[in-house]
């Protein structure tokens, strides 16, 4: 799991108010890194995703198996 996931997990048990307080103080830099990380990931998916998605998805037909 990414570091970001663990950060999210930790804040999950807090109530809304506390979460906002945390977000405004010590977790902010981590959250920013996390967003950068997601951006880079999505950039990469733009790069590797099958170019002609519509045609590929339509043509993806398998024989049934077990």
């Amino acid at each position: 799991m990414s570091e970001g996931g663990q950060v999210r997990k930790g804040s999950g048990s807090q109530d809304e108010v506390e979460e906002v307080e945390h977000a405004s103080t010590d977790t902010e830099p981590v959250a920013k890194d996390l967003l950068d990380d997601v951006d880079e990931l999505l950039d990469e998916i733009d790069d590797v995703l099958e170019e002609n998605a519509e045609e590929f998805v339509r043509g993806y037909v398998q024989k049934g198996g077990q």
Binding site: G5, V48, V57, Q62, Q66
Partner: protein, 495 residues
């Protein structure tokens, strides 16, 4: 005290040839399997002598028009690998069946080795086709257009455990474990239902509670009674309701929890689980729900959620392991991870992204959809759903998430690479794999429970291996080291 369990997982991979010329999937599968052999290798024939796929655990044989003739008769590629696995063509798909493993962690390693073997084999197969053709392989279970193909778990269980008890005690477990077994998919097979995304690839394809079929009218509990081992002592529980997993944590828990639960059932240490009313419909509903908190009706008129069912099994397993006081390290790791996963799911099952496939994929679909303003019906998101399962490490989306450290790994790439060619040391797979490696020209056929040798004598010699826990490196390592060829081995074995 429960007997040692063994497990193997068989996966039918999705296959597509993309290019100017159409290649039918049976031929494509055969190309992929055939391409993996080294130049000069020949197929090792599969030994069907002790195979009885139509024998029913309820005590009878059924002729089945859907069961295909054996692949040898069709001339389809079949190989048995030095890692103890079987790699062959089944139902128009390349299928990789792991060697027998003694624990969940090993199973993760040899299952992942299968992904790498498919990646390698597909690349080699493409090189045999005219330029402009690609061979793409997906570790998934449906094309989203009405076809499903299987990932089957196999567990060795003592014959004396009554099949009725197994069915009663496992069914609620099968329903509720979708939380970590599901590989996720967009949409549903049920026309007119609004299901944007569901937990399981396979759930919609299940129609009955108990039965022998695997390709039609799929049953939650499969009754195939073909132990591939001493039939007086063992049955092989053939579990067909799970998904193929990319996430190592998911595979580890899918198999690890089953091994523990089977011990509980064998030792009668499982408090009676709730009997779920209309379980097939419940299976669909759980998959479509994503919260694991959907209230399910029980046969005695109560309500129970999938998460509550999971806690029932977890608590029994934790108590059992503590009382036995002999937990193998893997068993304790299963318990720890299982508990952590259920605790996370209590907060929000979507937080399981990075550990289980459906949540990892869902998070990716939402993030990618948000960036480009796409809804779940859009072809590019359908492409994300599909390409998540692509086995290529440079293109598969799961593989890219793993490379970026966004999914949790349990085993190392070094272990996976080694497992492509070497068998587990503590099951009969070791004898199978080592004989193939050491005596490649003298093993003419192999099965799960036999090897057939040609040592130049008039008759072929068949060595039965009816005990999955025998034939380990500890048992026969020194013996194999002491012989020069298969003839000497057979002499030493007294056959």
């Amino acid at each position: 005290m429960a007997t040692p369990k063994f497990v193997g997982v068989e996966t039918e991979y999705g296959i597509t040839v993309d290019g100017p010329r159409e290649v039918n999937p049976v031929l494509a599968s055969s190309l992929v399997v055939g391409a993996y052999r080294q130049a000069g290798d020949r197929d090792v024939r599969w030994d069907h002598t002790d195979e009885h796929p139509m024998r029913d655990a309820r005590g009878y044989d059924t002729p089945d028009p859907h069961e295909p003739v054996t692949d040898d008769e069709l001339g389809l590629a079949n190989t048995v690998l030095t890692n103890g696995a079987r790699f062959y063509v089944d139902h128009a798909h390349p299928e990789y069946a792991t060697p027998e493993c003694s624990n969940a962690r090993d199973l993760v390693i040899w299952d992942k080795a299968g992904e790498r073997i498919l990646e390698d084999a597909a690349r080699r197969a493409a090189a045999t086709l005219p330029a402009g053709h690609r061979v793409l392989v997906h570790k998934n279970n449906t094309d989203g257009k009405g076809a499903a193909y299987g990932t089957h778990e196999n567990y060795l269980v003592p014959r004396e455990v009554p099949f009725g008890r197994l069915t009663r005690h496992l069914q609620p477990f099968f329903l509720s474990r979708l939380l970590y077994v599901g590989a996720g998919r967009l949409g549903t097979e049920f026309r007119g239902e609004d299901v944007p995304f569901q937990m399981s690839q396979r759930a919609d394809f299940f129609e009955v509670e108990v039965g022998l079929e695997t390709t039609l009218k799929r049953p939650l509990m499969n009754t195939r009674d073909e132990p591939h081992a001493d039939p007086e002592r063992y049955r092989r529980l053939h579990v067909i309701n799970g998904d193929a997993n990319l996430c190592e944590v998911a595979t580890f828990l899918k198999v690890g929890t089953m091994l523990l639960v089977l011990d509980l059932i064998e030792d009668q240490a499982l408090p009676e689980p709730p009997a779920i009313h209309r379980p097939v419909q419940a299976f669909h509903a759980i998959s479509h729900d994503l919260t694991s908190r959907i209230p399910l009706a029980t046969e005695d008129g109560r309500k129970v959620t999938p998460l509550e069912i999971q806690w029932h099994y977890f608590e029994a397993a934790a108590r059992y392991v503590k009382e036995q006081g002999r937990a193998a390290p893997w068993a304790q790791e299963v318990l720890d991870r299982w508990e952590a996963l259920l605790a996370t799911a209590e907060q929000d099952p979507r937080r399981l992204a990075g550990q289980v496939d459906w949540a990892t994929k869902l998070e990716l679909l939402e993030q990618y959809g948000e960036r480009h303003g796409l809804d779940f019906g859009h072809d590019r998101l359908k492409m994300v759903d599909l390409q998540y399962h692509d086995v290529r490490q440079d293109k598969g989306l799961y593989q890219r998430l793993a490379a970026r450290g966004r999914v949790e790994r349990l085993v190392s790439e070094v272990e996976i690479r080694a497992a492509m060619t070497t068998p587990p040391t503590d099951t009969r797979a070791w004898f199978r794999g080592e004989c193939l490696r050491r005596f490649p020209t003298q093993v003419v056929a192999a099965g799960w429970d036999s090897l057939v040798f040609d040592t130049g004598r008039d008759a072929l010699q068949r060595v039965p291996m009816m005990e999955p826990g025998r034939g380990t490196r500890e048992h026969v390592g020194d013996l194999l080291d002491s012989v020069a060829d298969a003839a000497e081995l057979l002499q030493a074995l007294g056959t």
